[in-house]
């Protein structure tokens, strides 16, 4: 079967889902950017970071190379991925810039991460927020996982991207 050259030559953005601590554990969503060859180029995800002077951890979003942001294998098992964008490189970079812009906003809020609050902000909230910031759709299939906090969008009502 021949592959569709239009499809294989385009850049793409994906939601990756990993399960924490084995089957049935909570899911962790994060975002992967792939180039026209299908290679992983950039990853964006949420992190819970210990604070020096408080037991309440901080929630932050980061961007980096996939190799430097690999989730620890002993705790995370990749279980699904969903393509949410495929297109030309210029639009791909535009989406990436829109996501970076949202990362800065998220981090400026200095949010708390409280895992016991299943409706609170979490790394899953950051993944969903980045999808929204890129003006893409969060795939319905990705909502089937138990991913605490994924409903929460960390953007104000009047959010407007400078890159839209």
């Amino acid at each position: 079967m021949q592959s569709d050259p239009q499809k294989t030559s385009a850049h793409s953005i994906h939601i990756l889902t990993a399960e924490m601590g084995g089957p049935g554990g909570p899911a962790h969503h994060y975002i992967m950017f792939r180039d026209h060859t299908g290679a992983d180029k950039v990853v964006m995800h949420g992190l819970a970071i210990a604070r020096r002077n408080s037991p309440v951890r901080a929630l932050r979003g980061v961007m980096g190379q996939p190799e430097s942001n690999t989730l620890p294998n002993e705790h995370f098992t990749g279980i699904a991925e969903f393509e949410i964008f495929r297109g030309d490189v210029k639009t791909y970079l535009q989406k990436m810039a829109m996501a970076v812009e949202a990362l800065h906003f998220i981090n400026a809020q200095n949010l708390n991460y409280r895992p016991e609050d299943l409706n609170g902000d979490s790394p899953n909230s950051i993944a969903h927020t980045l999808v929204t910031a890129m003006q893409l759709e969060f795939p319905e299939e990705a909502t089937h996982f138990w991913a605490p906090g994924y409903e929460r969008i960390i953007l104000p009502r009047n959010w407007r991207s400078a890159y839209a």
Binding site: R51, A97, P156, R157, Y163
Partner: protein
């Protein structure tokens, strides 16, 4: 072909160069105090099919968010 002289492309590249990194964020977040100031104004993005988990967020004035 990517036109690196394209002003849009240059603008995106400038933005991407400012992206938060793991090391930078860990350093900044670890020394930040707990956020006790509330939150910014948001309430409309709850997924419509998440009624079981729906939470009511109380809008807060903007500008109360920095810890």
């Amino acid at each position: 072909m990517l036109n690196t002289q394209d002003p849009d492309i240059q603008g995106y590249a400038n933005c991407l160069n400012t992206a938060p990194t793991v090391s930078g964020v860990v350093l900044e977040a670890s020394s930040s105090p707990e956020n006790t100031a509330g939150n910014f104004n948001r309430d409309q993005y709850i997924m419509p099919d998440a009624s079981e988990n729906k939470v009511t967020l109380t809008p807060q004035p903007l500008g109360m968010t920095m810890g």
